[in-house]
Symmetry: C2
Subunit: 370 residues, 2 copies
Amino acid sequence: MDRSDGTGRAFVAGRKNLTEFVVEALVSAGADAADAALTADVLVAADLAGVDSHGVARLRRYVEGLRNRTINGRARPRVVRETGGVSVVDAGNGLGQPALCFAVDLAVERAKEHGVAAVAVRRSNHIGIAGWYTERAARSGTLALLTTNATPQVAPAGAAEPMFGTDPVSYALPTAGEPLCYDAATSIVPRGKLERLHREGKPMLAGWAVGPDGATSTDIPRVVAGLKAREGYALLPVGGLGEERGGHKGSGIGLLAELLCGPLAGASWSRHTYGPQGADLGQFVLCVDLAALGDAGSITRDVEAMAEEIRGAQRADEEVPVRLPGERRHRCAEERSEHGIPLLPPVVRDLGRIAELTGIKPLGAREVPA
Amino acid sequence: MDRSDGTGRAFVAGRKNLTEFVVEALVSAGADAADAALTADVLVAADLAGVDSHGVARLRRYVEGLRNRTINGRARPRVVRETGGVSVVDAGNGLGQPALCFAVDLAVERAKEHGVAAVAVRRSNHIGIAGWYTERAARSGTLALLTTNATPQVAPAGAAEPMFGTDPVSYALPTAGEPLCYDAATSIVPRGKLERLHREGKPMLAGWAVGPDGATSTDIPRVVAGLKAREGYALLPVGGLGEERGGHKGSGIGLLAELLCGPLAGASWSRHTYGPQGADLGQFVLCVDLAALGDAGSITRDVEAMAEEIRGAQRADEEVPVRLPGERRHRCAEERSEHGIPLLPPVVRDLGRIAELTGIKPLGAREVPA
């Protein structure tokens, strides 16, 4: 993790301080106190886990959305439809975190009752790190699968313009320790990674983005500007351009996310999101109670045995252990819980502006040697 | 589609003839008549759709398995556990097709009752083309998601030996016409594609397979021999070697398939499959009744509108339309239904040997100009 943006300055904040700052900022901007606390938890969990793009770097957009009423800080998620194990939740254009947490808890509850549950969320907003929710569900003894849509940035196979979001897909399963949790965007890289590489003077790779001419582009400033202006540049799904490395297959996983969160959830999708009535994002959660499939303890032990076998596989690089999804994030969270969360100077500046805007006490991140 | 294997000979069979041949071969080898008919349908559907690797090219292994009793031709799938919308099916080491078809029909029925259903299958065998089953479920008005495990051929991210099967993931949704159906192996390419390229004197690409040294290999004969002998060569997941094109993300989708079909279904996985008691493969099906989510007609129209928007996206190549998953297969099936199914000479030879072995009437594929 780079702790500097090239300015030679680097900052660190404690988990508790940062969380309190986020809560205060959200409450000052009009969020309900409990919703603010939950949203802060999810945002800071991303920073802890090293997924800095989904952490407090997003806070300014939340605060602005609440202040200009494009996000309703007093919304309450509401079940608008329920049939057996299936529920549809209207998030009322509130913060995405409390809405999705409500949906996931409902899915766990319904899965305990029906063995399996599906909950779709509509009129929702940005949810932060998807793995936070699936891990929560896994801790209750279920397999959880979750996806969300987002503003269009990714080209489907064969296309040269953004139609899909970077829509993360996450799943988690209980183990004796931390849940086994996969959480990844359906694009190879997010836009934020391109911006970081550019800041660091590093190149982007061919196959990550496509230009309006249908060829891959490695021109970071043009790709980033094109994505922001929706001017024909697009990120590419896992597998990259064309079919040579399975880009058409990666595209199909992105399409599944778009189908589940758009038409099936009754939410907007792609260019129809973020209209005058709010983002209207969709989320989709599936939970299966392990106890419905068999003895939950025995299934969990089988999962662990499988994980051990995979960790013990012949390594591609002798120096690099074979890792399971989530292990890197869990280790990072331990380390940062103890030593603090590094924040990039632009994020620290952003948090400073938020303090000015809302009149709350500034964060006071500690400057450290870069 | 190549209609020749370089011998200068090419053959074509009609759908009806080919289906009848498969039924007779399976029945002669000891399969129940109804199971044989269903299995023939699924196999020939693959040949029709252009997925030749999953069609009658597989028949010889089925016939041999039935004859030497590693597959039980008289097995009946049995529900061994049922909790709300969750069922576990023991396939009794029978043919995979009738077992999975039973499971999918059960999932549809339970989804109509509970809104959502999950059915896990254990002690199963090879299932043919996964999309056949999800399309069947979609025609009943559900979203279906399905995966199966298989013999290990794919290296997880960071590993240099096969631990995962090429495990296909398929999903399908109803539309006014054919279902929108995604069906793809979780590796970039299957072993069969390497064998075909080699026959045609064409190269394989870097990033498709990894050698025991952890580097990508493009030596087709060594890769294929290594895969067959389980000697350290492995195919790579969608995204390829390492993280540069999202290979770690593709690996996580393969892991999901292995988790669902192994520990969660209570079936064997990876190197533990195909033991002395049979293959003990697992399958996992999820169905969500669209009518539980909202007005099914309206959801289907939204799916179609989304599909239309994607088809109308700016093309990467002006000459190549943006296609949705399944469209190529559906077009191929129409074409082959009318003009016959091309069969490669080695497949025709295989079918000839099956006729000799079982004493049934030979297929009589028509030789055509190569």
